[in-house]
């Protein structure tokens, strides 16, 4: 970053803010006008992954901590919301044909006679909303505390988060009576009596989602521009020097990991609301590492790049899976190899290299729109 730390946050219409306004215009005006509700809902689904990608930009791009378990937090956030919606859909009147009315249908199928204790609080929307953020953040705090205080990082951290993603998936699939098993929690209907399955509801939820995303981008931008954000970059590049300067490196890492977890969880909750179900297929190893590629394609250093990258990869996935399903894994594999070997700074890097200089010629002040300076790949990776 080229700004001084005390430059005011919204002080002037600089490149980042201009970029965010452009994204906001695209999401809130252009896409709703140009797409039918089915496709718009799909874009809304993609955008929920962008929350995860934002978290990864901070966690991996800024602080150099690669978590391969972001699906855990996406999933927990989604499940918290799904549990509330499922309880509302399982009122005693709606489920009177079950042998135990008033509990979710999958519990009835698994011969459960009463609601498990940890489902009880999810009758309250307030509790569910708080839990969406608090449970993943708490989990991330515990994992982060255990690992970063012992200076476990890099590859070991990545593998252990991956193991956690595996554990959680096996747990959810195995405990069918409590979690809905492999099918997940399905058949969600209303939110406080408001039917979330109608087209109008989907439109409203899309706008809520887009607004939340813009809010989260601003929040991330604030974090990155704060002194904290600079310390994160410093500890990514030379961790020992930060430690010798008297900072407790672990605390910063724990904070950014929890923050990324909370962001992912918000995305998960919005996913449940818009798509109408939650299942372990969004939790495991494969979806978690796919989320990393969203961020990497956009550019691991750029907040806006992450959003565009998410949209682009998911759009390509839908298009290819519809017409050439066998090509998709080739494309995905090539993306992984490509972003590592050919364009480590993703779309944002390409933008800065090729488009920004030309824009700069048109305008007196160069647009640093997509975010951060290009750094050599070897410092980004270690």
């Amino acid at each position: 970053m080229t700004r001084t730390p005390n430059s005011r946050f919204f002080g002037r219409l600089d490149g980042d803010i201009a970029g965010i306004l452009l994204l906001a215009a695209l999401l809130i005006v252009v896409l709703p006008l140009g797409l039918d509700i089915f496709r718009l809902n799909m874009v809304g689904k993609y955008l929920t992954y962008a929350f995860v990608a934002l978290g990864l930009v901070l966690c991996w791009g800024s602080a150099g901590i690669l978590s391969l378990g972001q699906g855990i937090f996406f999933g927990i956030g989604g499940y918290c919301m799904a549990m509330f919606l499922k309880l509302e859909a399982s009122s005693p009147e709606a489920t009177k044909i079950q042998s135990t009315p008033g509990i979710p249908d999958f519990m009835d199928w698994n011969q459960l006679k009463e609601l498990p204790w940890f489902w009880e609080p999810f009758h309250s929307l307030t509790f569910a909303t708080v839990a969406v953020v608090a449970v993943p953040a708490l989990l991330a705090f515990i994992v982060g505390l255990a690992m970063f205080k012992r200076r476990v990082g890099g590859v070991y951290f990545a593998i252990i988060t991956q193991a956690f993603a595996a554990i959680l998936t096996i747990l959810i699939v195995g405990q069918q009576g409590y979690t809905g098993g492999i099918n997940g929690i399905t058949d969600l209907r209303t939110l406080k009596g408001w039917d979330i399955r109608t087209d109008e509801a989907k439109l409203v939820l899309y706008f809520v989602n887009a607004a939340l995303l813009i809010g989260c981008i601003l929040l991330c931008l604030y974090v990155r521009r704060s002194k904290l954000g600079r310390i994160l970059v410093a500890l990514r590049d030379k961790e020992d020097r930060v430690r010798f300067s008297g900072y407790d490196v672990a605390n910063f890492k724990i904070f950014v990991f929890c923050f990324a977890a909370a962001l992912s969880a918000v995305g998960g909750a919005m996913f449940t609301l818009q798509v109408g179900f939650m299942s372990p297929s969004f939790v495991g190893i494969v979806p978690s590492i796919e989320m990393v590629i969203y961020c990497a394609v956009g550019g691991r250093l750029s907040l806006l790049g992450a959003v565009y990258g998410t949209l682009l990869v998911n759009w390509a996935k839908t298009m290819l899976s519809e017409s050439f399903p066998e090509l998709w894994l080739f494309a995905m594999g090539a993306l992984f190899i490509g972003v590592v070997m050919v364009f480590p700074n993703g779309l944002a890097g390409l933008y800065q290299q090729f488009i920004a200089p030309r824009l700069g010629r048109l305008r007196p002040r160069s647009g640093s729109g997509a975010g951060a300076p290009i750094i050599p790949p070897h410092t980004a990776a270690d």
Binding site: I159, V286, E326, H378
Partner: protein, 308 residues
């Protein structure tokens, strides 16, 4: 969880489950040996290791089909031919991958992780296009069928015994290659101090390439062994990769003894618990225990002292 079983029954259960665990242990060890060599020596995280194993399994499958149709007389011994071919195929692919991709990514372990994950996706899709999405199995020759009755209640399948014997042989061979041969000395020299090894005339690039090839080749042999105890599908390798990484990390990345010890612990724990609890609970408990122990002891069970 033990009520309802007599002491003799419990003894038999533990023996049978212990043996089932030993087969899992064999697959773990063969996978983990290659992974440990690659990770320990070069700091490369090879997420495509499972796919190298599956390549070996498919080579074995092809080989068994080919030999049973063209030279049935050789069929009882086809497995040894298949194993050699599997080693060569996976090893050659490994060296190609090292030359095309990995050598640009040394010192960037996280990037090798992502790139090899991409490679694993591509290989999976190739397997699916070539061999189909259905799982395939090989026909075992007669002498590998059946089981040996040790007592009235304990039976040991012969193919399991064979796989274990194979694992032990390969482990001894790897040990000899790594710790008793001139070439292994070079590998260990590069592992401990790359610059110095280069300065005394070891061609470190060549050592890297052959080491990566060796690791992948062992994975191919693991795949060969895998066909004897399970059927092979395009994504079978992915099921084992995280477990195997935990085995390697748990054992201490640079110690072969540690890798074997941790493979033994993890496979035995999982297999014994599987009988008394459901399979998924056993797996969750095993993985969780390993992860918690790793949090308490991040360097793993056995540590080789290396100056960095």
């Amino acid at each position: 969880m033990f009520e309802g079983y007599s002491l003799a029954e419990l003894g038999s259960i533990f023996a049978m489950q212990g043996f089932a665990g030993l087969i899992l242990f064999s697959v773990f060890v063969l996978m983990a040996l290659g992974l440990a060599i690659i990770f320990g020596q070069m700091g490369v995280i090879n997420m495509a290791h499972g796919e190298f194993m599956i390549l070996g399994a498919y080579v074995t499958y092809l080989c068994s089909n080919f030999i049973s149709s063209t030279a049935p007389a050789l069929f009882p011994a086809y497995f040894f031919i298949a194993m050699a071919l599997a080693f060569l195929a996976s090893g050659a692919l490994g060296m190609l991958v090292e030359w095309a991709m990995i050598r640009f990514l040394y010192r960037r372990p996280l990037d090798t992780l992502l790139a090899t994950w991409g490679l694993s996706l591509i290989l999976q899709q190739i397997f699916r296009s070539v061999f189909g999405a259905r799982e395939v199995g090989v026909v075992l020759p007669d002498w590998l069928m059946g089981s040996v009755a040790v007592t009235d209640t304990i039976e040991v399948p012969i193919n399991g015994l064979f796989v274990m014997g194979l694992t032990m042989t390969i482990t001894v061979v790897i040990y000899a290659v790594m710790f008793r041969s001139r070439w292994g000395q070079g590998v260990r020299a590069v592992m401990q101090n790359r610059v110095m090894a280069g300065a005394v005339g070891i061609n470190t690039e060549k050592v890297d390439r052959y080491t990566f090839g060796l690791g992948c080749g062992i994975a191919g042999v693991a795949g060969s062994a895998f066909t004897m105890v399970g059927s092979t599908g395009p994504t079978s390798g992915q099921l084992y990769i995280v477990d195997t990484f935990l085995v390697v990390v748990f054992g201490g990345a640079q110690s072969l003894i540690g890798t074997i010890a941790s493979a033994f612990t993890i496979s035995q724990a999982q297999s014994t618990m599987e009988f008394f609890l459901s399979g998924s609970t056993a797996k969750v408990l095993t993985l969780l225990t390993v992860v918690v122990i790793l949090m308490l002891r991040p360097q793993g069970l056995f540590v080789l002292k290396v100056r960095r």
